[in-house]
Symmetry: C2
DNA sequence: TTGAAAGCGCTAACAG
DNA sequence: CTGTTAGCGCTTTCAA
């Protein structure tokens, strides 16, 4: 049987209210009383029951986070940032993986809503309406997804993709293929937008393929089509796909970057580790996690103070490694 | 203001207890009454307050899990298994990353202890005494770590490592280097034990190096020593390290597997994705996660029924891919 | 500065 | 089968 506030009160010869104050509002208690109480607290190893506390304060001290795919190392990085910032603020974190499925995602958010003070939703699959509805259940911050009325943290994918295209164009490429990610998501659209704008600006012609699963397999699947189209570069929606592309290309004995250049997106750890380090776009995932919690705490503390919900945009940047080069001359093509 | 059980009771014209029963013990309520109540529940969107419920039942419906490093894809896999099984059983899961630090680990477990019904601790860094102490705070199941008196799930690392050694010996290797992981952990010891036994049995001589950080960097760091010793194979503590080895070897222009064979352990996704698919040992991570929750729930439901805490051992298996081959003949050496 | 008392929303005896 | 009652452990007025 765990020790309760009464045990402490009795042993310290004070009332329970004094114990309560000594813990959560120390300056309301005279120094020596407080000392005595805290002494007993330590001695007994007393820890307030969070359920009881939450029942009355309405706060749980917990934060939730939903990600679409823990298997994509990009998301563990966000989690790490979330956990770090949450702990600094004395919160614990609940996590869930929605498996990139909207129905599961909604279910998870509903379940969490009652148990946490607020929730961070990453790369939501949900449509605006449903998301707005869920947002009314709890305090919510979005990552890589915008919705009017909700604070969000965005990584500037459009610019990142533009940088990729610029890089390829500068290298002398004229035709490349884009292996697109899943249809609906904000990330998909932002990346495509950056791609198109930069393509138009630089005169690089882009063949858009897909959508594909944003995985190793998905990337491998897109390779034949790209090859058939005779492009000199393949731009993948994300690193996992790019790794798939690289792998398939190697199987087909197509030299990278000599015959074909390949780029990824996210800069997961493995992008730099694989046989041929991948040219990709760095996303400040951990920082985004921290920023999301920051926004959440802000909203929790200040309530509706901020008339306009905050949008935090984080910069991305191109990392040129070993999978991009000038295209082979026309003799080879 | 969220809707409470009283709102439901009032609108359904029953007492709160009937509502409570209709929800958590439906067969104690007459069918038509139950129908009426659940109707109102749905209409109002009522969801019981978990804090209040937990206050009285003593159960939170939450499970916790502590892993040493979310950045190692092996652990997200375990998490996935944990979440899957937990959800089936109607539980949510709290996660924490200890950053491979014992002090943090203890702190996290203590924090969780009050908020969850039980906790899964993976690859604990803690010594037996401290771990036992923490186990007294909550229901605990260990993964890849044993402690008398606690249920645990183990992946049979020793056999896996023995298979690696056997494979290398069969290929004709006589001398190999082992790049060991961090000093204390159970995994480290189990793998080393398997290594030594099999080495003795097969006559393969093993040079034990390290300990190293169980990361990409750690692996890369061990390469020069191994090379200097003139071995024909490098056995890494885990895949991350093996990937580091591969990378460094490539920088040094040492052909794999022609000049030197390399093996990993864990079979993380990237092991199969990298330029040269890695020979490694598959660990049933997700299954281990599920099994751990199983044991946890078991213990939660049956209390001390099981006199002897359960140990569940999961098999591992060698996956031969492209980084191992027969050693080069003496002419090359 | 401290204590007494009133619940937070729910479940679990215990009656009826 | 259903209602009444008594708290779970804590915070928070309100008085002293």
């Amino acid at each position: 049987m765990p020790v309760t506030i009464r045990d402490v009160a009795r042993q310290a010869r004070v009332s329970v209210s004094t114990v309560s104050r000594a813990i959560s509002a120390p300056d309301l208690v005279r120094a020596d009383t407080r000392e005595r109480v805290l002494e007993v607290v330590r001695g007994l190893g007393y820890q307030p029951n969070p359920a009881a506390r939450s029942l009355i304060t309405g706060r749980t001290g917990n934060l939730g986070i939903v990600v679409p795919d823990l298997g994509n190392p990009f998301f563990p990085s966000i989690l790490l940032g979330v956990q770090a910032r949450a702990r600094e603020a004395g919160n614990s974190v609940f996590f869930c993986d929605s498996g990139q499925d909207g129905v599961t995602e909604e279910e998870l958010i509903r379940t969490m809503a009652r148990q946490v003070d607020g929730v961070v939703v990453c790369a939501s699959e949900l449509d605006d309406g449903r998301l707005a509805e869920l947002a009314s259940l709890t305090t919510m911050v979005l990552v890589n997804r915008a919705l009017p009325g909700l604070p969000s943290v965005m990584m500037d994918s459009a610019s990142g993709m533009a940088a990729v295209v610029g890089h390829l164009a500068a290298l002398g490429h004229r035709r490349c293929a884009y292996l697109g990610g899943p249809g609906r998501s904000w990330s998909t659209q932002a990346r495509r937008r950056g791609l198109r704008e930069a393509a138009a600006r630089t005169g690089l012609s882009v063949l858009e393929l897909g959508p594909f699963e944003p995985t190793f397999r998905g990337g491998a699947q897109g390779v034949e089509q790209a090859l058939a189209a005779g492009v000199t570069a393949v731009v993948a929606y994300n690193d996992l796909m790019a790794l798939g592309v690289l792998n398939r290309l190697q199987q087909l004995d197509v030299a990278v970057p000599e015959r074909i250049s390949v780029t990824g997106f996210d800069d997961i750890l493995y992008a730099a580790m694989c046989g041929r380090p991948l040219t990709t776009v760095t996303m400040p995932a951990e920082e985004a996690g921290r920023a999301a919690v920051e926004l959440l705490l802000d909203q929790l503390d200040n309530g509706a103070t901020a008339a306009v919900p905050k949008l935090k945009e984080l910069p991305t940047s191109l990392v040129i490694r070993a999978t991009t080069a000038a295209p082979a001359g026309p003799t080879i093509s």
